[in-house]
Amino acid sequence: MPSAAELSATPALRAVDLTLSFGSRAVLSGITADIQNGAVTAVIGPTGSGKTTLLRTFNRMNDKVTGYRHTGDVLLDGRSIWSPAVELMALRRRVGMLFQRANPFPMSIMDNVAAGVRAHKLAKGGEIREIARERLVEVGLWDAVSSRLKDSPFRLSGGQQQLLCLARALAISPEVLLLDEPTSALDPMATESIEKLIRTLVPKITVIIVTHNMAQARRVADRTIFLHQQQLVERGPTQQVFESPAREETARYVSGRFG
């Protein structure tokens, strides 16, 4: 059992000189960054800075975009995610994702939570129901849905749907969870409950959250990465990035003067 210090010493994810383009359009250039294990890392930056693309690279969601090319590498637990031994389905089991808007599947609430478990054949019958129940309890949705597990998820509120998607992502026990502006379509109440949940996920899970909401980054993130014009400008502990940024652009962005 490694100590907490050792855990945080090995980065969960590491981007090494990552450069990425779609066709002739450069989206990321020369990104090198460590994502600390068991912490929440926020990726902030103005629109078009490539923060969502960076996030989607970590579970190779960009691979199928036409014109996609990359150089450099991303290491998950020290091994390249582009190694020939990596199978996409396995990678995505280890690196889960939550999207800008809730995207429940057209099946019952229960089946939604169980979808990943069933696909990866991680459990059977009663076990699946038990896992689903645990996850729904974990995200605080159990009381609201326990009596209508067979219903369509589309009747739930937007916040509840997003929580359901979170439970679905957690059900396959990912090591890393990618959050792509998960609360941008939600009201303040739902946003608060999701932010609280994110804090409960660490240090078991490494969380990376892309957000355009700087207050949110300050509330939930241990560390922050600031991207600007396809490049990594600054990274460090959240407090440091926000309160004593080393670079002029960072200072201007976090104080709300552009972006």
């Binding site: 389905m89 089991r93 994702m97 999207f99 995207n103 599947f105 057209p106 979808a115 589309f154 679905r168």
Partner: protein, 321 residues
């Protein structure tokens, strides 16, 4: 005002059509009664003998109208067509919508348009001179020697494999005619599925197959059902192509998959000419047309109910996010 005048035409035609058919069919309904639905003998009667009168209805000697084989034939050919066409159409639609590059997808679309646009008489011609003989010489024997050897299936799939004019060839031809309807609708439906749920499935580590089975297809299930019903409507009413390959065997149930048979529509088009001189024969044809309309409308109603039931529970049809 002129617009309203035009707009009531379809309705008036519809009402006139029903009245005319029911009115014309009454003598035959009175003459045959339930034997129309249960009988298997279809006899136009002796044209040159003196007409006789039974129960106040004048008819030719020996006339008998048992439409069971035709009704079953209509349903059976359409069933074969759907069994083949539904998986083929949906599979092709998935490939076109999700995998093919835009240019190839466009070319595939042209083929669908071509198949949908070819007049049914050309499909019938191809079926009669090309597909039928191949089915008779190669495909039917193959099925008879394999599936036909399984105990219990010998009766329907084994035994004599026929001339290529019959149930199996008709079903295949109808499948060819129904495929473009189901495939092009499915393709458009698949393209309309929002990206987010599909990305969610991919991000969860599902394979393309699992994503299609769990997310894409359930998302559009009722739309596909609608397309299938549209195709079924075409298959039930298709006339000329089936008339050219079914063998037009009146009045006997086909004993196996390959035997000659007839559908309601094919019987009307092939035999109306012989009936023109006798009012009772004409009346029987009106009753046949009514039966065909009832079958078509019934399938439509059932399908509408099905769609409503399916979409009423879990599946959010066409529900964007």
């Amino acid at each position: 005002m002129i617009g309203l005048g035009g707009a009531v035409v379809p309705g008036l035609v519809l009402i006139g059509l029903l009245v005319e058919l029911i009115f014309k069919a009454l003598p035959a309904i009175g003459y045959s009664g339930l034997r129309f639905l249960t009988g298997s003998t279809w006899n136009f009667g002796a044209d040159y003998a003196t007409p006789v009168t039974t129960n106040g209805l004048t008819h030719l000697q020996g006339e008998e109208f048992g439409a069971l084989p035709q009704i079953l034939g209509t349903l059976a050919t359409s069933a074969i067509a759907l069994i083949i066409a539904v998986p083929v159409s949906v599979g092709a639609a998935l490939l076109i919508a999700e995998r093919l590059p835009r240019r190839l997808a466009g070319i595939a679309g042209v083929f669908l348009e071509l198949l949908a646009g070819v007049p049914s008489v050309l499909v019938g011609l191809w079926g009669a001179v090309t597909l039928g003989p191949i089915v008779a010489r190669h495909v039917s024997p193959l099925i008879a020697h394999t599936v036909g050897r399984i105990p219990g299936l010998t009766g329907f799939f084994g035994q004599s494999t026929g001339s290529g004019q019959g149930l199996f060839t008709s079903g295949l031809l109808l499948a060819v005619m129904v495929i473009p309807i189901i495939a092009s609708t499915s393709r458009d439906l698949i393209r309309g599925v929002p990206v987010l749920p599909r990305e969610g499935a991919v991000a969860l580590g599902m394979s393309d197959f699992e994503c299609a089975r769990k997310v894409t297809l359930p998302w559009i299930a009722s739309g596909i059902l609608g397309a299938v019903v549209l195709g079924l409507g075409r298959a039930l009413g298709e006339t000329i192509a089936v008339a050219m390959v079914c063998g037009v065997a009146l009045g006997s149930l086909p004993t196996n998959l390959y035997g000659a048979m007839v559908t309601i529509a094919a019987n009307i088009v092939q035999n109306l000419e012989t009936a023109i001189t006798d009012p009772m024969d004409i009346s029987a044809f009106a009753e046949l047309a009514l039966a065909l309309m009832v079958i078509t409308l019934l399938t439509n109603v059932v399908a509408t109910l099905l769609v409503r039931r399916v979409s009423g529970t879990a599946i959010p049809v066409g529900r964007g996010l």
